[in-house]
């Protein structure tokens, strides 16, 4: 392409187009009416100036060739000058600077071919601009001409856009432009209605420029003065911005249509549009070319290194070619074989093979030598060794490549740190040496507008406002208005472009990293500010971090930084059933934790089972048994003697936090058994809590509640000693004796029956009244429920209650029952039940109960029992007799069969014997008595049945009991259904107990409440209490 261009528009051509421009302009200025002609040059200026690509192409070709050519020309000129030209020139005197014979052949040619018809006018005058540029006396010194020429040549080599701008500035397309001695307000330079219109026409996309060239050519062929002039003033295109469009400046649309006839790629069928005057400037607006600086970062647009980051090594003066440094992607011929196999298709498929890009790696000559030794050659230059491999140059492992600017992306490069680190040249000390400044520069180009927020303190660090300090007020795109806070302009609001600003921080500011770097969301305090980089001290890790000021923001937050989902630094999380860990760092996607064993690992949030909410009240004990809680400061006893405040307590592990420890965010794990308390939070041990009860009052004695909660152990002489006790269990069960000695567990009891002291567990002793043999409250009463009840059942008969019941019926017995079991009511029930059972025998006892009125019934039942027991009588005979019943009690069988019998037998004998027999005797008596008792009550309601029942039972009982009891058949049979109902049950149980029990059950069923109530009314209530301890 460049060649083609060279042919078409060699440097000479370019000169043709541009150099004459001023001349034309001046002309036009002079002869204003001749506008169409006069305009032509500026038009071409524009063209030049628009053509972004044009500049490349022209440049590509032009630059090299031109430079060379012209240099040579220059040289030649100089030589000529030196030798002979000078005299000639002097001879000439004040000549038109544009007709300079010595300016070289080229120039002459140019002019000749270009301005043939204007030659007449041309040359008589010089453009005022040029005059301006020349020092006084220039007219007379043709040396100046060459200077000017040289300058123009230089201009030509300049960035085309710059040049265009320059020219445009100089030759603004306004009428007034020519009089540029004055400063012309910009708005006057804007096109008005009187100016020619611009028409936009369609063409084949991508061929815009060719169309423009064709037009240009046509204009040259048919200039203004010719027979059939082209009346287009200028033509241009906007390249990729407006694909498929090109624009012509003309007075009339017809002119355009006419001129465009037969132009290739032009689509005449599509309608031309008139560009509104207002939009004209926009159409011609030139974007300032990106200034590339060596050391800056760019990305490569296409090719093998597409998307790769590259560092600019060098920018050529024309600003179009740059040398970049890239991390090579080489396979060193490893895939070549495969490629070779493809034979002739290789070329076509190259794209495909390239699709597998080798990874980025620094150039390695030894690898290159393996397969491609022939392509490899070393050259050692001044700056060290460089390699030439496959026509590319490699220095320090990097690929050094010349590229065109348009093949690079220089905006929003956003180099990532890992990419940049690849470019980090290793310093002598082995540390990576990053050019932060250039990185900053690149990043600045991509500064997002949202990185500045209203209220940020900023500083203008370049441009004319340099040094201003203020606070941002608002942002609009790239422009930020800031209110100046310091200096002469304080209070004013000015606008400044983002790129001239940087955020301003003072040492000690508390800031947060808001973006860009990997330290995002870190909080810290500024320790150093150096130009654009700020060093902060992270709150968390106590480490120094260097970031760009643009990535920082003043932070009002305090405490923990960073959160990842719900996880925060220092949170306690559950990893699996057996492992907990404390978060020590929160990255963007992962967490760093230290687990209970002290090992540090990186995990993903998904690996966390759940977060363990902090437990404020968690308590542990340290090595010395002292209480430790969250927040306490402890020290490790062994090992590293770490200290720290307790963050978390988890089972026997403590997570300590120590601010002075840099690693693991200050977290360490210790076992509770390895620490001692250094200080407790809030000074727990320091004194009484004054918000609570007045300690002075507290001293006066233990509060009632406290006493109640735990009775003080009584000391001194054991209260049990000297007491008469009965044994409740074991081989001495039922025996009574006197305690001779006692200690905590055992008591030495001198039994009445066995004439020797025996050691008995004091817990199975029940104090008795030595005379009445009633159970006493020893004060150590074991209120334990003998719920086991089976035994209880047995006891029931023994039911010392029964005895007591008889005489002291009113009081003793009930409590007895109660005494037997803590659950007095149950017992009561039981007792009652039993009674009722018996009574039940008589009839459905429940109703009986009820009918009787609970209370009454109770006594009755009691009475019953007593009676039934005959035991009431037994009572008197208790001492000895009781035992028997006891036995019987213990084994119902005994009771049922044996005891009863004896009872019977003894019934007559004498209650006093203590046998059941007497009991029975007593029983009968008692029964009678009871019956009497009963009789009245029932008499009220049930008199008939009850007594009947009673009467019946007693005998019945007596009768069946012996035989029938165990069977239980008779009893029920004899009496009534319910009882039997109970009976079978009883059968289900072991015989004795159930017997007692069962009865109760139904009894309960019928009158559960009753007994209770009965007791209550009976005075049974209090007795219960009494009774409770009694056992």
């Amino acid at each position: 392409m460049s060649n083609f261009l060279n042919q078409d528009f060699g440097s000479e051509d370019e000169d043709d187009e541009f150099n004459p421009a001023p001349v034309d302009e001046s002309e036009g200025e002079d002869s204003k009416p001749a506008k169409s002609q006069g305009r032509q040059a500026p038009g071409s200026d524009d063209m030049k100036d628009q053509g972004d690509a044009e500049e490349d192409d022209v440049k590509d070709g032009a630059d090299d060739d031109e430079d060379d050519d012209e240099d040579e020309d220059e040289d030649a000129d100089e030589d000529e000058d030196a030798v002979e030209a000078r005299p000639r020139k002097r001879r000439r005197g004040p000549l038109n600077p544009f007709i300079d014979e010595e300016a070289g052949v080229d120039e002459e040619e140019d002019e000749a071919e270009d301005d043939e018809d204007e030659l007449a006018e041309f040359g008589t005058e010089m453009h005022p601009d040029d005059f301006d540029q020349l020092p006084a006396g220039a007219e007379t010194d043709d040396r100046r001409h060459r200077q000017l020429d040289r300058q123009r040549e230089l201009d030509a080599t300049m960035d085309a856009e710059k040049q265009a701008q320059l020219l445009k500035e100089r030759y603004g397309r306004n009428r007034a432009a020519a009089t540029d001695a004055l400063v012309i307000p910009k708005r006057l330079l804007l096109p008005s209605v009187e100016d020619p219109s611009i028409w936009g026409a369609r063409c084949k996309p991508g061929k815009e420029r060719e169309v423009v060239y064709s037009i240009q050519k046509r204009i040259e062929e048919r200039p203004a003065g010719s027979r059939n002039p082209i009346r287009i003033i200028s033509a241009f295109e906007r390249g990729h911005l407006m694909q498929g469009w090109f624009y012509c400046e003309a007075r009339r649309q017809a002119d355009v249509t006419e001129s465009l006839e037969g132009i290739n790629f032009y689509y005449p069928s599509q309608k031309m549009t008139l560009v509104p005057v207002k939009e004209m400037p926009d159409l011609l607006r030139v974007q300032k070319s990106e200034e590339l600086m060596p050391g800056g970062w760019v990305r490569i647009k296409r090719g093998r290194y597409q998307g790769d980051l590259a560092q600019i090594e060098e920018v050529e003066t024309n600003g179009l070619n740059v040398t970049v440094r890239v991390v090579p992607r080489l396979d060193y011929g490893m895939n070549e074989d495969a490629a070779a196999l493809m034979g002739p298709d290789v070329k076509r498929k190259r794209g495909a093979t390239n699709a597998i890009r080798p990874p980025q790696r620094l150039f390695n000559e030894s690898e290159a030598k393996k397969k491609h030794a022939k392509y490899l050659s070393a050259t050692s230059g001044l700056g060290g060794k460089s390699w030439s491999y496959l026509n590319d140059t490699y220095i320090d492992g990097f690929l050094i490549k010349d590229m065109r600017v348009q093949h690079l992306i220089s905006k929003n490069v956003n180099p990532r740190l890992e990419e940049v680190t690849m470019f980090a040249r290793g310093g002598e000390d082995g540390t990576a040496n990053l050019d932060l400044a250039s990185l900053a520069e690149t990043l600045k180009n991509s500064t997002a507008e949202d990185s500045y927020q209203p209220g940020d303190p900023v500083e203008v660090y370049r441009g004319e406002q340099q040094g201003l300090i203020g606070r941002t007020v608002s942002t609009r795109g790239d422009i930020i208005s800031l209110q100046v806070t310091e200096g002469d302009l304080a209070g004013q609001t000015i606008d400044a472009p983002v790129r001239t600003l940087r955020k301003r921080f003072r040492e000690g500011d508390h800031v947060k990293v808001i973006g860009g770097s990997r330290y995002q969301n870190e909080l810290g305090m500024v320790v150093q500010v150096k130009d654009d980089t700020v060093t902060i001290l992270s709150d968390m890790s106590m480490q120094e971090i260097t970031v760009f000021s643009k990535d920082l923001r003043l932070s009002a937050e305090m405490g923990a930084d960073g959160q990842l989902g719900i996880y925060d630094v220092h949170d306690l999380v559950q990893l699996d059933a057996a492992t907990v860990a404390c978060v020590i760092k929160v990255d963007r996607e992962s967490l760093r934790v230290v687990d209970q064993n002290g090992s540090v690992r990186n995990i993903l949030p998904t690996q966390i089972a759940n977060k363990i909410p902090p437990r404020r009240d968690a308590v542990a004990t340290d090595r010395n048994g002292a209480e430790i809680r969250n927040g306490d400061t402890v020290r490790e006893v062994y090992g590293e003697q770490r200290t720290g405040a307790i963050r978390h307590i988890h089972r026997s592990y403590l997570f300590l936090h120590n601010k002075a420890q840099a690693e693991n965010a200050g977290i360490s794990v210790v076992r509770t058994t390895n620490v001692v308390t250094v200080s407790a939070r809030g000074g727990r041990p320091t004194g009484p809590d004054l918000t609570k009860l007045n300690p002075a009052l507290n001293m006066q004695g233990p509060g009632g509640g406290r006493g109640a909660a735990m009775p003080p152990p009584s000391r001194g002489r054991d209260t049990l000693i000297g007491k008469t006790v009965a044994v409740r269990k074991g081989r001495y069960k039922g025996l009574v004796g006197i305690v001779r000695d006692a200690d905590d567990k055992n008591a030495q009891v001198e039994l009445y029956t066995v004439n020797k002291p025996v050691q008995i567990d004091r817990n199975i002793l029940t104090p008795k009244d030595p005379i009445t043999k009633q159970t006493l409250d020893s004060g150590r009463g074991r209120g334990r429920g003998r719920g086991g009840g089976g035994a209880g059942g047995g006891r029931v008969p023994y039911g010392s209650g029964a005895p007591s019941g008889a005489p002291g019926w009113s009081g003793g017995r009930t409590p007895m029952a109660a005494g037997d079991s803590s659950r007095t009511p149950a017992w009561g029930g039981a007792a009652a039940s039993r009674t009722p059972a018996w009574g039940g025998m008589s009839g459905s006892r429940t109703p009986a109960w009820k009918n009787d009125g609970s209370r009454t019934s109770n006594p009755y039942e009691a009475g019953n029992r007593t009676a039934y027991g005959g035991i009431g009588n037994r009572t008197p005979a208790w001492n000895s007799g009781s035992r028997t019943p006891y036995d019987s009690g213990s084994g119902y069988d005994a009771f049922a069969s044996g005891s009863r019998t004896p009872a019977w037998g003894g019934a007559g004998a004498g209650a006093n014997t203590g046998n059941r027999t007497p009991a029975w005797g007593g029983l009968s008596n008692g029964r009678d008595q009871r019956d009497f008792d009963d009789a009245p009550t029932p008499g009220g309601g049930y008199s008939a049945p009850t007594p009947g029942a009673y009467a019946a039972p007693t005998p019945g009982a007596s009768a069946p009991t012996p035989g029938a009891w165990p069977d239980s058949a008779p009893t029920p049979g004899a009496f009534n259904a319910p009882t039997p109902g109970g009976m079978p049950k009883r059968g289900g149980y072991d015989a004795p107990t159930p017997a007692a029990y069962d009865a109760p059950t139904p009894a309960m069923g019928g009158a559960a409440a009753t007994p209770g109530a009965g007791y209550g009314d009976d005075d049974g209530g209090p007795r219960y209490d009494d009774g409770t301890p009694s056992p």
Partner: protein, 167 residues
């Protein structure tokens, strides 16, 4: 900087304190609760005196009495730029931790003069310029507070000794 500040505090008293010595209790309570307290903004160094003990007001539900007490106290509020004396509590590669009274001040490596180097091989580790200056645990330093970061119940500060007359 130290200030004498008048503050107000509400103390609620358990009924069991009601009695002749109630005032004393209040004073004790005030001293215990206030002295040494850190508000996140300043430290209360000492309660000077009580300006006014308001009338007690019995809270209906609890029986406690609330007293609104006005008192004067000496407080210390650390400021940026303030120069204080501090004692080194620990020395780390990242910097020096010091205590200036109740305030913990960290001196980052960047804020330690360049000639004073980290010397990890000594016991205990220290910062030293290999001449007469040694900074180790227990050393007294004069430092300038660079920044103060208030916390809920504590204040953290960073300081510098990289200036004239500091160190």
């Amino acid at each position: 900087m130290f200030f004498l500040k008048e503050e107000t505090k509400i103390i609620s008293l358990h009924p069991s304190y009601f009695g002749p010595n109630m005032r004393d209790y209040l004073v004790t309570r005030l001293n215990e609760e206030e002295e040494g307290r850190c508000t996140g903004d300043h430290f209360v160094i000492c309660v000077m005196d009580m300006v006014d003990i308001g009338e007690g007001r019995v809270i209906p539900s609890s029986g406690n009495a609330e007293y609104t007490i006005k008192y004067r106290a000496i407080i210390w509020k650390p400021f940026r730029g303030e120069t204080v004396d501090a004692v080194v509590t620990s020395v780390k590669p990242t910097g020096i931790f010091t205590l200036a009274g109740p305030l913990s001040v960290f001196i980052a490596r960047k804020n330690i003069p360049g000639d004073i180097k980290w010397e990890p091989n000594t016991v205990p580790p220290q910062y030293t310029d290999h001449a007469d200056q040694v900074i180790e645990k227990g050393t007294s330093l004069r430092l300038k507070i660079l920044g103060v970061k208030p916390d809920v119940a504590a204040i953290n500060a960073i300081g510098t000794i990289k200036e004239d007359y500091l160190g």
